[in-house]
């Protein structure tokens, strides 16, 4: 995985989950954290690439980074 300078507050491992599971797991976690917290979502579902970016734009949260690993993506979302 690419080195990044982001320290997530929480991590959600949704690898193996079918759509819309990863996005719903992310939303559930964002619901429970403080403003400014960063949630890391791990997903191996391609649909998450569009799901997560569309939702963060709609909800006003900030998608800081998407990192592609060998078998999954890591999304870093900062709660507005």
């Amino acid at each position: 995985m690419t080195d990044i300078d982001i320290e997530p507050t929480e991590t959600v491992d949704a690898r193996g989950a079918a759509c819309p599971g990863p996005l719903m797991d992310l939303i559930g976690k964002i619901r429970g954290v403080e403003s400014g917290a960063v949630v890391e979502l791990l997903s191996d579902n391609e649909q998450s690439l569009t799901d997560v970016s569309e939702w963060t734009e709609e909800s006003g949260n900030d998608l800081l980074e998407v990192v592609e690993a060998d078998d999954h993506y890591a999304f870093y979302v900062e709660k507005a």
């Binding site: 193996g16 989950a17 079918a18 759509c19 819309p20 599971g21 996005l23 719903m24 939303i27 559930g28 964002i30 619901r31 799901d51 569309e54 939702w55 709609e58 909800s59 006003g60």
Partner: protein, 381 residues
């Protein structure tokens, strides 16, 4: 030495499995080589799909209740109690009403879903549901006296029981209100947490045009944050406010704390191999139905098919053979599209759903299945 199989939960999955094992392992049970215990904290088995019809005054909650001791084979050791602790290392469980813990050789968790409306501030006071007996009865009272205003159906979160039921409710409400000459005085809005009207894109693509044709408004990317019962307003995480006169919500769902406490998975769902249904965090533990985190819908048909797979695998274990049965994600759903029409879908892990055109025949097929469900629970259908 007797192999002890304990099934926790007497819903569709647990009950079908118990009867399946009584059938498969009857001779072994009679010989004392196998003991099967089904534990449930309610003496009744509840068939929840009946609740969809209660708000429209078509069924009574009692239609969905039968005593477990009338449904479960006599060879099953039925215990009305609650499991309060699971030790997967020692393979022991503890009952609420027993002094000593009990050993198991195989444990099957079929504890199902519980509702958590309190997770959304204001929702318990401001919203109705038809995902519980009491909720369905209260909603019936509200709906029967509702003659004008804004009816909002909000799917607060997923996963939830019967993913088709929110669509069914708005389609049925639309038709029911038209029949009563009230539809022009009542607006209907449907909200969903993601960017389409259903989690499965194929079902969403089928349902959306039907909603548009029937003037059912849609609000997607709506994740309920709070409800103001006095102001009758619902606010989403995305910053959208919706005013309502009658709010029907699909509340957040959770499993049971017991599962997280045992280290088997988060939020009460057991992490499993989606084909074998074996828990990934412990040996000799299975989960099925809503309890198994497989990604397939939380539906009775899923629990039914999974029970058959777990039954075969357990029988193989008991007989010292390698288990070969696998679950392929098979799901069957009837989807009501009004008060006298329904569609039908069948899909699995590989094959996506393709809803068939709605018809009266499928509607009556759904009602006929609901009547014959008790044969399913007994393991006969």
């Amino acid at each position: 030495m007797t192999d002890h199989i304990v099934i926790v939960g007497g819903g569709t999955g647990g009950t079908v499995l118990a009867n399946d094992l009584a059938d498969r392992l009857g001779a072994d049970i009679d010989a004392g080589d196998v003991q099967v215990t089904l534990v449930n904290d309610d003496p009744d088995h509840v068939y929840k799909p009946v609740w969809l019809y209660v708000p429209f005054d078509q069924r009574e909650p009692a239609d969905g209740r039968r005593r477990l001791d009338e449904l479960v084979d006599d060879r099953i050791d039925l215990r009305i109690d609650r499991v309060t602790d699971i030790d997967t290392d020692a393979q022991r469980i503890r009952y609420r009403d027993a002094a000593r813990s009990v050993e198991y050789d195989y444990l099957v968790l079929a504890t199902g879903s519980t509702l958590a409306p309190e997770e959304i501030p204001g929702l318990p006071e401001g919203g109705h549901d038809y995902y519980s007996e009491s909720g369905a009865e209260r909603l019936r009272e509200a709906l029967l006296s509702f003659t004008e205003g804004h009816l909002v159906l909000s799917v607060v979160g997923t996963p939830h029981m019967c993913p088709a039921a929110p669509l069914e409710f708005v389609f049925m409400a639309d038709d029911w209100l038209r029949e009563r000459g009230l539809r022009e005085a009542i607006d209907i809005t449907y909200t969903y947490p993601i960017q389409r009207v259903h989690g499965n894109p194929h079902i969403a693509e089928w349902a959306r045009p039907l909603m548009d044709e029937r003037d059912i408004a849609v609000e997607t990317f709506f994740n309920a944050e709070s409800v103001d019962p006095d102001g009758q307003t619902m606010t989403s995480m995305e910053g959208t406010d919706i005013e309502y006169d009658l709010l029907v919500a699909i509340p957040p769902h959770r499993g049971v704390d017991l599962i997280a406490e045992a280290g088997l998975g988060d939020d009460g769902w057991v992490d499993v191999d989606k084909h074998t249904l074996e828990a990934t965090a412990a040996e000799n533990v299975y989960a099925l139905g809503d309890t198994a985190d497989t990604g397939v819908p939380n539906a009775g048909s899923v629990a039914h098919y999974q029970a058959g797979v777990v039954g075969q695998r357990l029988a193989s274990h008991v007989r010292g053979r390698p288990p070969t049965a696998i679950y392929d994600g098979k799901t069957l759903c009837f989807i009501e599209t009004g008060m006298d029409a329904a569609s039908f879908v069948e899909f699995d892990y590989e094959k996506p759903p393709s809803p068939v055109p709605p018809s009266r025949t499928l509607h009556w097929s759904k009602l006929a299945y609901n009547e014959s469900y008790w044969l399913t629970a007994r393991g006969l259908l």
